[in-house]
Symmetry: C2
Subunit: 392 residues, 2 copies
């Protein structure tokens, strides 16, 4: 056959389609669960792992070992992918800006992502746009702290502007002495806020697509122990009016910041109304309940959103859904060795992340869907307890 | 530190647990979807692929390229795994027997698996145990066929005892001439049955664990076109008494044959009552609806069953669930290229298998959960049509 004859044939439809590839910075449990959704959608998920023990590597075949601190690794990750997205916040904003200049499609964009990376920046931006946030100040010295405390009283809550998660980088300043002690060690200063009277913590997930379509998931209550989210209760046991207000607020923030993918808006429910605490622009712990609890999981939704595909319904599928995180027990034992006990709890959906067990580390979660919140929550707690504690 | 001091330390709990490994013969869509369930349970799934294009390879990291016809490949696959199970029937029974002699734990066992591999063997065994099956004969010659037809009339349905699926190996013998023509080409003879009057085809999934625990899923109707299953409707639109009878029958078969894992019992609903058509001892196309439609998917249930873990609830989660298979269209185009149209159908759960498109090949499925069967089925059909046909 001549070369002319060959090139005159149209490309066959069968070879014209290439599976979309989503590149994800990070290879933890969020990447791992995103991969489950990617399989169903026929999407290739390529993750950036820092080493071979990252738990998404035992889930999927496509990975790169590297560092989110190295621009070259990020470029290699993004090469040939349709879009670059994130499993965590720990990537340098200047690298994201450089990737955008390269022409890499980021979802979310570098400027939107910065709102999740820098708590102080987020507070300022949200306040300037008129969204309700706690009173705050940026303190560089104990004099700054004393000035803020003169207005709001001691103790203060102090947060490192960047790098904190799961309670790391958050602490209480009880007195001027504590501020004297803490502030010199903070080259970027500290975000200060009053010790708020918080009725409960709430979270709302928004999915917003590259095409601008947005949907709001039900408002959930997040229950913290030791500053780490331990339980998610859906729907949050709050008045319908407050829930509607929370969803509207979160949708407005998503539009204002031009979010793409999943946006988690963490809220404080206070006597002064709802206040925005933090934003996360990625699938979020408060949304794990959506895997079984909603018509579309946050992981599938994130992929649909970043690829510009139509979004799925965020509808809750049961009157009550409870998720309880599985935390590495003090004895260092692996909850996975006790899975059979948890599976014996009727309706318990067990998710293990395949991570090396370590005290206080999130190693998995259990979700139960039910008719009433109290027994549903108890069932999830029982299954989680059986995983965490050999005596249960 | 002395050697004595070192060995006197107890092994740490953190290193004592090893993730269970399930080895699966085959790397098609059933292995691919089993892998999604394996991720949640923290189970390693190692699949045997015949080549690098098998669709489970783009889902998971653990695979072996080899042949289910080579005992050595099966031994390598099973080495170090907790249990060996299957994504298809195409593995030599003598190899399975040899593996059992090696001490490999098979789920199902070689003798149970043979009931799915050899239709004639299954008919005989089921009939001997008193289960209702269609009238049948084993024909080696056209005289055998004529003798069977003298009792039941022409045309006859003929099936190759081994190796057929999705309508392959099943054909109609319209006349003695057809039998004269067909039988000499069949060294193992043919399984003959009358042309039955079938009201509808039904299927029941049973999950039965290595510990003997068993649960029955709802009875579904399977809708065939061109001898391939195209739709699954759950629950089957049949009287409650008939459904209960089908479930009891399937549970009794599972116990009788000592099934382990998922057992699919295909049934004909006829004027003479329920008749058992075929058995499959693996996750089954008729159970894809369980991913979103039931409290526990057949894939998770299969893993729990073969590992001897407690089974999950098989409860249906919605009043009506419909699954429609996506079949490679005549023009050879890839349905994956049209996914956005399908995702725009509200409540459509799209599953693509990542297979090379080929006319008539199962490339994915769509499931919709709803309140009433007719609109639920229509929504699933619409999403499937949009994937299959560029003009929809």
């Amino acid at each position: 056959m001549s070369a002319t004859a060959t090139t005159s044939q149209p490309p066959t439809a069968a070879t014209a389609h290439r599976a979309p590839v989503v590149a994800m910075v990070g290879a933890g449990q969020l990447a791992r669960m995103t991969h489950q959704a990617a399989i169903a959608l026929g999407v290739g998920l390529r993750v950036l792992a820092t080493d071979g023990s990252d738990c998404a590597l035992s889930a999927g075949p496509q990975h790169l070992i590297g560092s989110p601190d190295r621009l070259e690794d990020l470029r290699t990750l993004a090469a040939g992918a349709d879009v670059l997205t994130f499993d965590h916040e720990r990537v340098a904003p200047e690298h994201l800006a450089a990737l955008q200049l390269d022409g890499v499609r980021l979802a979310p964009t570098a400027s939107a992502k910065l709102l999740a990376q820098d708590k102080l920046h987020a507070r300022r931006e949200l306040a300037q746009s008129g969204f309700p946030v706690p009173p705050f100040a940026h303190a560089h010295s104990s004099a700054d702290a004393a000035s803020f405390a003169a207005q709001h009283g001691w103790p203060l809550v102090a947060k490192a502007p960047r790098g904190g998660y799961d309670g790391r980088g958050v602490f209480t300043l009880a007195s001027p002495d504590a501020a004297d002690h803490a502030l010199p060690g903070q080259p970027d200063g500290l975000l200060l806020e009053p010790h708020l009277q918080i009725e409960r913590e709430l979270a709302v997930l928004i999915a917003r697509s590259a095409a601008g379509e947005a949907v709001a998931y039900p408002v959930v209550q997040t229950v913290q122990h030791d500053a780490m989210c331990r339980e998610i209760l859906a729907p949050a046991p709050i008045a319908a009016g407050l829930a509607a207000q929370a969803r509207e607020l979160a949708l407005a923030i998503a539009d204002r910041i031009d979010a793409t993918g999943i946006l988690a808006v963490e809220l404080f429910d206070t006597p002064d109304g709802l206040l925005v605490n933090e934003l996360a622009l990625r699938p979020h712990n408060s949304g794990h309940y959506t895997i079984e609890g909603c018509a579309t999981s946050q992981f599938e939704q994130h992929l649909r959103a970043v690829l510009g595909w139509p979004l799925g319904l965020p509808t809750l599928l049961a009157p009550a859904v409870a998720t309880v995180n599985i935390i590495g027990p003090p004895d260092g034992s692996d909850p996975a060795s006790r899975i059979a006990g948890a599976l014996a709890v009727p309706a318990a959906h067990v998710h293990l992340y395949g991570k090396t067990p370590r005290r206080g580390r999130k190693l998995g979660h259990v979700t139960v869907c039910g008719q009433d919140l109290a027994p549903t929550r108890q069932a999830a707690q029982l299954a989680a307890a059986r995983l965490q504690d050999a005596t249960r």
